[in-house]
């Protein structure tokens, strides 16, 4: 008989019991394994084990041209592909010193906020389902479907969109796209009311979330929480407002902060963010500038298909970019953006060639996962599910 790994059979201390949860467990949102040391039903210690989804994306990036890395970034955090695209593109654009035209920036903001709504809807549905409320999932996925259709309209893909490219966007949005988004945005606040009707005042939901898995502001900072997990503990930070990128300084929005630091506070922060995001979408639609969607940098940005058929130069540039890539000046940048889960950072090091020397992703899920051990100490086993749901992890982002 094959031997079990030592970590599966280690005994607890002082009459405690080791209980294993995952990696195949429906409420771990992927392949997370949690090893719990319990005394009765109370958690004494908890240890998350990750790595089951490690695909070595950082290593793969080093063997690709800069523009070939964009599709890999989609696959890291598959619930917010556009945020990953944006963060990587901004980092490389910073290395290149590229100016992005306003229209491209505004469409990036628009798509990014739709992505945030998309991601929060998946979180809301699955989190509520973990706590026993099945209906919310169906409601959320109804709206998420519309956002996936927008993805399909602009990029041809429902999930792995790779819509943002270094220097701008892949394509002009199709005719009628903005009208459809406008219609969705007008109807969305009423949908958020629907979700809130089901959950916010629901006594069972409140009992499962209020005062559960508390995290103080000091602990949240020390253990590296980010995004709504950090804001739910009363730390007021949002990179869209505090370190604006991609033209976010032109938009007005509030940053929801709660001081309770429990599961319910994180829930409220995210639901409020849904409303703020739809406000940003409305502003982006109302003020959408005219102009090109790609930077004026023929050596970096692929030329239009039409130009390639008529202009010799465009054809040469296209051939060069595809076969040789483009050299990026030596240097290093750390670009951080506010993803639905918190601070997502890309650290890109260039040695002056057409392939990145090193690409490192700072995943918000990876950072937030460390706080689970702290917030679950002394809680009941049943609340571990609520705690894991409340930090909204994506294991693809954790393991990369």
């Amino acid at each position: 008989m094959p031997q079990l790994p030592a970590s599966f059979v280690e005994p607890g201390q002082d009459g405690t019991l080791i209980l294993n949860m995952g990696p195949q467990h429906p409420s771990t949102h992927g392949v997370l394994r949690v090893v719990m040391e319990i005394e009765g039903e109370t958690i004494v210690r908890l240890r998350p084990e990750i790595g089951y989804l490690h695909t070595g994306i950082e290593k793969t990036c080093e063997a690709k041209f800069y523009q070939q890395v964009v599709p890999l970034t989609d696959r890291i955090d598959y619930l917010c592909p556009m945020t990953n695209n944006l963060c990587y593109c901004l980092a490389v654009e910073k290395l290149l010193g590229l100016e992005i035209p306003p229209k491209a920036q505004w469409i990036r903001v628009l798509m990014n906020e739709l992505t945030r709504i998309n991601s929060h809807l998946v979180w809301l549905g699955t989190h509520a389902m973990d706590l026993g409320a099945m209906t919310v999932l169906l409601y959320c996925f109804r709206e998420r479907e519309e956002i996936l259709r927008f993805y399909e309209m602009v990029s041809g893909q429902r999930m792995m969109s790779s819509y943002f490219r270094i220097g701008g966007l892949a394509l002009e949005p199709p005719p009628g796209f903005f009208e459809k988004v406008k219609k969705f945005a007008d109807g969305f606040p009423a949908k958020v009311d629907e979700y809130e009707n089901l959950l916010t005042g629901n006594p069972i939901f409140k009992m499962r979330t209020k005062g559960i898995a508390r995290l103080s502001a000091e602990d949240a900072i020390a253990f590296g929480a980010c995004g709504p997990t950090l804001r739910g503990s009363g730390v007021d930070i949002d990179l869209r407002r505090d370190a604006p990128y991609s033209g976010y300084e032109n938009f007005k929005f509030n940053v929801p902060v709660r001081t309770e630091g429990d599961v319910f506070a994180r829930y409220v922060c995210r639901v409020q963010e849904l409303r703020e995001s739809i406000g940003i979408v409305q502003q982006a639609l109302a003020g959408m500038p005219e102009g090109p969607i790609k930077a004026d940098a023929p050596k970096v940005v692929l030329p239009d298909r039409e130009k390639m058929k008529t202009q010799m130069e465009a054809l040469i540039y296209h051939f060069k970019i595809i076969t040789e890539g483009f050299a990026v000046p030596a240097g290093e940048v750390y670009q951080a953006v506010e993803s639905p889960r918190g601070e997502m950072g890309y650290y890109v090091v260039s040695d002056g060639t057409a392939k990145p020397y090193r690409v490192h992703m700072r995943g918000p899920s990876f950072a937030n996962l460390q706080t689970v051990a702290k917030m679950c100490e002394g809680q009941l086993i049943a609340d571990v599910v609520a705690a894991i749901g409340s930090i909204d992890i994506v294991l693809g982002d954790c393991d990369r």
Binding site: I50, G51, G56, E58, T60, K94, F223, Y357, H360, Q370
Partner: protein, 165 residues
């Protein structure tokens, strides 16, 4: 030397809060400074990394209290081969700084900063797993991404992209 030549003009960057608090503590630990693309990088003596991080965290006017990220870069075959990179953020002052330290290729080891920021736990395990840099004083220095019995450290430059077959 790494491809990016560090600029050692410490004097012109003295006013940056991160550099000011490090120089105020012990100017000997700052090896080089570089301000590039709006980002400040400070190279710190390897033996002083934990204390330097503690100084930056507790600085009075601009405390870099949040550890964003720990990672490494392998400059194989150059020596010193590894650069361990810390990205710090000051939540109150909205400032960022990058702290780096260099390590030799033969049995690279460094003091852990888990006592300064508990959040360094996972990041240092990741660097240990993928680069083979050991962190002394780390509470649980085990592989985190790769299986426990894996051989080699995949993000090293002398590790083939396709893996060993």
């Amino acid at each position: 030397m790494p491809v990016i030549p560090p600029i050692t003009d410490v004097a012109s960057l003295k006013s940056h809060p991160a550099l000011a608090s490090l120089l105020g503590w012990n100017s000997g630990v700052v090896q080089a400074v570089r301000f590039d693309r709006e980002e400040l990088t400070i190279w710190v003596e390897k033996d002083a990394i934990r204390e330097a991080c503690a100084i930056l965290r507790d600085a009075r006017d601009c405390p870099f209290n949040y550890l964003c990220d720990v990672t490494a870069v392998d400059w194989y075959p150059l020596e010193p081969r590894f650069e361990v990179v810390y990205h710090l953020l000051s939540i109150s002052a909205k400032e960022r700084v990058r702290v780096k330290t260099r390590l030799n290729g033969s049995s690279p080891a460094l003091e852990s900063v888990t006592s300064v920021w508990p959040s360094a736990n996972f990041y240092e395990r990741e660097v240990f797993d993928l680069f083979g840099v050991r962190f002394t004083g780390h509470p649980n220095l085990k592989r985190i991404m790769m299986p426990d019995d894996w051989e080699g450290h995949p993000l090293r430059k002398d590790y083939p992209v396709e893996g060993y077959r």
